[in-house]
């Protein structure tokens, strides 16, 4: 998957988790928490969805890497780059 496809994969997950939020204007560098109404259960849902959809395991100590879109994509890129697009 390309970086753009990984970003889209995260957007797809976010739009399922937070269906009421507008993701079109998301600032990739700013933390999700500052822009979206997200709590720790929402972040857990991202982790669970990544495992369900792509079988990606994120250890608890790496959860802070999911703070913003930019940091999430940077974290996922080495793991997902060899995966086929879904």
């Amino acid at each position: 998957m390309t970086v753009a496809e990984i970003r889209q994969a995260v957007i797809d997950i976010l739009s399922d988790i937070a269906p009421d939020q507008d993701l079109s204007a998301l600032n990739d560098e700013m933390s999700f928490r500052e822009q979206l109404e997200m709590d720790s259960m929402d972040f857990l849902d991202i982790v669970m969805e990544l495992r369900k959809r792509y079988r990606i395991q994120i250890p608890e100590e790496d959860y802070p890497q999911l703070a913003s879109m930019a940091s999430t994509v940077a974290y996922l890129e080495p793991i997902m780059k060899d995966m086929p697009k879904k």
Binding site: I17, D39, M41, L44, D45, V47, M48, R51, K52, R55, Q57
Partner: protein, 489 residues
Amino acid sequence: MNAHSSRQRAGDPQFSSYDVVVIGAGLAGLTAANILGRAGHRVLLLEQHDKLGGLATWFKRKGHIFDVSLHGFPVGMIKSCRRYWSPEIADAIVQLKRIHFDNPMFSLETTFDRRDFTRLLVERFGVAPPAVDAFFDAARQMNFFDDQSVTTADLFERYFPGREDVVRLLMEPITYANGSTLEDPALTYGIVFSNFMSKGVYTFEGGTDRLIGMMADELRRNGVDVCLRCNVDQVLCEGGRVRGVLVHGRPIAARAVVSNANLLGTIFDLVDARHWPADFLEQARQVRLNNSSTQVYFGIRAGDTIDEEQCGDLLFTSTAPRFCAQSLLSRDVTSRTFSFYYPRTRPGHNRCTIVASMNSQFADWADLPPEEYRRAKQALIDDTLQCLEKYVPDVRQRIDWMECGTPRTFARYTKHWQGASFGTKFEGLAVSRAMPNVIGGLYHAGSVGIIMSGWLGAVNYGVIVANEVDAFLLNNSSQSSFSEETALP
């Protein structure tokens, strides 16, 4: 998806081997089972009682349905139910808008949210608006990593120095909701407060029985095998790993086990001591259980209704001149919470009930001989009735059922050590979290640590643990369970 057809019945599990066994069908156990079943794992849920729900329960008497723990929960339940259960369950959650306080310091009505608390604190209590805002912001920003030595008392003293009345308004409901006191870490207050009091109090339309019924349907849809009247006698371990459970003398193999039983019960009753390292046992021995409860249930005659304007949905009442969390525990009760359930609680079931809840200590009830126990229960009912008369005129003539529950009742139905209503104090959380590091594949999910208790805390903790179990099962997918490795006895 798995091939197991799910059903709920008394009796023995259908199979002798599962991916996951969940011990206990409280809200945390139910939720963990649902998520793991939905993820395609083969899940067995074992409950010792004859119904699901644990402390989230109800009972029927003379046409009345009494809810035990439906006084109210935070708005976050809507989101959690939508995601981890079903949209139908989430859609049945409605707000309780009339929360009353009546004590020697103040009498007021509130919608129990940040805006209304701010209004009250400024207009009625004369607190400067910046102090109120600073307090709410500080509470909201608190998290798990904060300094634990800062107590809730310190927090109040910082923002509302010397204001016992303000402390009472902001603390008394939380003491009822989870048994915490001014001595508990400020972070537990901050987390619970910002969850609970920032957006009002909610209830489930249709009552606890409807909620648990809908959850049972959902479990069935997700292929979870549910067995009632199945007490787990032992968790089987071998070589530092969990292997299954023993139920009715029969071993059931499992790759992972989630215990929703009391934390201390899980460690000291269900697992043989030789499987725990000494330092873990020592840490577990330090864990303090939370208090228990007493309740008095009143059924109003069919056709009669209580005045909503006057009583509201939830009433925190006290005759104690000052607030003291410790005195809330005394058998000499001066403070109570009344929940008034109107016909709208269960549309179609045209009844009013009133449930009084008091915090209390197991030790005060544990050893009473039968006659004294009976008298103590009658005294509790009489005192509660007398208090209620102040709010509901002629209530004695209007009631056709009265009964009470004590810490012994809660202990009997849930097997919680000391009838604990809200799990453990803060230190229990670390012990609960550490369990799978000590015995591979063994998890605990259930009320602990103050912040993980109550309906929402239990549901969310079930989700957190289900996430870990799911990851564990994926990582260990190549390993077979012991039914295939070792011959079962």
